[in-house]
């Protein structure tokens, strides 16, 4: 995914602001990256270089940590982040079917973002709601006992809400 100049500038500025409030010891690396991701939604190369400079470590080491941990993402997330639980209980109750349904509806693969950046799709390794399996999350909201038709329904209700918003704006 190609970033615009504006996005690169935003990444640098926000990273600098976060870094200025943090110490320069190496053990703050992960907390700092978590804060940058919370603010930007992802960690672009520009931000990694800023972090490396601030902590006085090679940029490749930052890249190593970012790519080691599942939590960090390298590309901007969609406005609606869809996460499908792939824990044991969800898997046995058809988590992969739910994942396939999202892939079909959004026309993207796991780990990708739709070209309009409305949706991104990820797998998570158990959100601890095993008793409501299978579950999917949209942003932080948990949707329990998902079905393929339920996926269609959630997608259409988002489409509908978007359309209504556009109509309100154009009016």
């Amino acid at each position: 995914m190609i970033l615009t100049e504006l996005e690169k500038k935003e990444a640098v500025e926000k990273s600098r602001r976060i870094l200025s409030q943090n110490g320069s010891s190496k053990n703050s690396l992960i907390p700092v990256l978590q804060k940058i991701q919370a603010s930007l939604g992802y960690i672009p190369p520009e931000a990694m270089r800023e972090v490396a400079g601030h902590l006085g470590i090679p940029a490749v080491e930052v890249y190593g940590v970012v790519t080691f941990y599942n939590q960090f993402r390298l590309t901007p997330p969609g406005k609606h982040q869809v996460k499908v639980c792939m824990g044991t209980a969800c898997h046995m109750k058809g988590g992969n079917i739910i994942m396939e349904s999202w892939e079909r509806v959004l026309k993207i693969k796991t780990g990708e973002t739709t070209p309009d950046r409305e949706f991104s799709l990820e797998r998570v390794a158990c959100v601890g709601c095993c008793t409501m399996a299978p579950v999917a999350l949209i942003n932080e909201k948990v949707h329990p006992r998902m079905t393929p038709t339920g996926v269609d329904g959630l997608y259409f209700s988002h489409q509908l809400a978007n359309q209504q918003k556009k109509e309100v704006v154009s009016e």
Binding site: V65, M92, E140
Partner: protein
Amino acid sequence: MNNQNNAAERLEILRSRALAHRDSLRGKTVVAVGTATCGRAAGALEVVRTFREEIERLQVEATVIEVGCMGHCYAEPMAFIFKPGFPGICYGYLNEGLASRLVQDFLVEGDPCVEFALAANEVNDLVPTFQDFPRGMVEQKVVMEHCGFIDPENIDHYLAVGGYGALAKSLDMGPGQVIEEVLSSGLRGRGGAGFPTGKKWSICANAAGPTRYIICNGDEGDPGAFMDRTILESNPHLVVEGLAIAAYAVGAAKGYFYVRAEYPLAVERIRKAISQAEEYGILGRSVLGGGLSLELEVFQGSGAFVCGEETALIASMEGEPGLPRHRPPYPSEAGLFGKPTVIDNVKTLSYVPRIIRNGAGEFKNSGTEGSPGTAIFALAGKLVNTGLAEVPMGATLRQIIYDVGSGIAGNGSFKAVQIGGPSGGCLPEETLDTPIDFDSLTRAGAMMGSGGMVVLDQDDCMVEMARFFLDFTQKESCGKCTFCRLGTKQLLGILERITKGQGRPEDIPLLLELAGEIKAGSLCNLGKTAPNPVLSTLKYFRSEYEAHIHEKRCPSLMCKDLIAFYILPEKCERSCDACVGSCPVEAIYSNEDRIKVIDQAKCVKCNSCLVACPPQYRAVVKVSPPDLVAGKGGENDERKS
């Protein structure tokens, strides 16, 4: 000595204030809604809002509070209503409509709506109590005693039930005595390995150097386990107190909560608990007004399963990728930043306050000789009553599954129980009378693990189960040891082939050989236990592997490549379109006789039509191997020609 008396006195002041607050609620109506993550997923926040709005609208005198989870997750959202003149009554399966009805009928008109009641908190003539349930005979709540009954975001609630009393008592006993008490209680680490906690503490306390650290391991990564999350969300102060006592015992001035980033609510509640305890002078520069200083902090994990392993956890806190290192030296001698560090699981620490308060003897009264105390299991899968169960060690799997979990949901029959997550194994029917403790489970071929228990029925394929766990460990392997990094990939490849119907006769011996080598060639427990799911399913369910390999058939009708969906023409009710509407890919059409037919080329095998077909028809079936469909009349071939 003066200092210590001071601590007890200070706590007494705090407690009497908390009790006064609680007594002010006596004689008033209180609605306590469970809003832990499981409750929220089921809609608990909407229920809370409805209760508040309706109470406001109807001008009822009642307080709505949010509490944690009692462990009855199957019935979420749940609420306890305490109304003077009635026992505390618990209602389950709530929604907005039911909540507003309870306000109108019960709070206003005084009809407790027993038809919606789940249980009561005391013996009465209206509703049975939880003790009257079959699970009441088995369960024994020690750690979860207050979960779901106190407001986790209000320290006064914890103080009112005797909270932080054990910390004050510890300060009075002195560190040596505290360790002695934990040692003699026989408490073993509940993270899975079962190392004696007191021994770990005393090694750390005796290690050289003035700086020591203490870490609470809340990196609960096992898919299928959610005990730590529930405790952190429902009674965070209990864990804070346990950690504070441990810190005092080993002489640490700084402690950390390492909590998964996937548990935002647990992180928030622990942070709140720490800051409340600091505000009350229970933590901080001067613990309970004495000379002890203790600073606690939350460190959020970043989604790496291997970080549940203690040396990997330490690496991640030091800003490194979470790679485990060789032990010894154990962290209790050289851990975080090279300093002696004690790392204890959430559940382990949760037992500590009670052991200190009531003595080691009480703790040893339950459980078995080698594994005293209770065990907490997260029950999930094909059970009627999913949720959390706290039972004494030594209870059998059968008791947990059939008494606590009320058996298999639907008309299913029990096939296996998966214990211990990706490191554990699948145990079949004949092992159900195995008593649960650290040693017996290992002997049976599973392991205690952190306590996730997923129950499987006849529709679950054991090869697919093994493939799922291998897929998980293969992705989560940190890559340090070759056998774990590449060996798990090979194992996974073979299992994938088998589930796709491309298995070869030599695959089973190959799996066994590779499994042994991965176990021998890995540094940490992730690799050492990674082949367990394969080994245990091969031991107990070998015939399923053989059916996949030799007959290209999945006996449980689960492996997608080996099944097909088919509509029985003689059972199809022609005027019903339920399956057509349910299909997400428009693969179902009506033939000239208006009988529904599945276009096998389009079908994505999502199970929707099977669920949608009304129970009086049951016309949709799964068949394996898939070419059986062609033999059943071949509707599809007809259409193609």
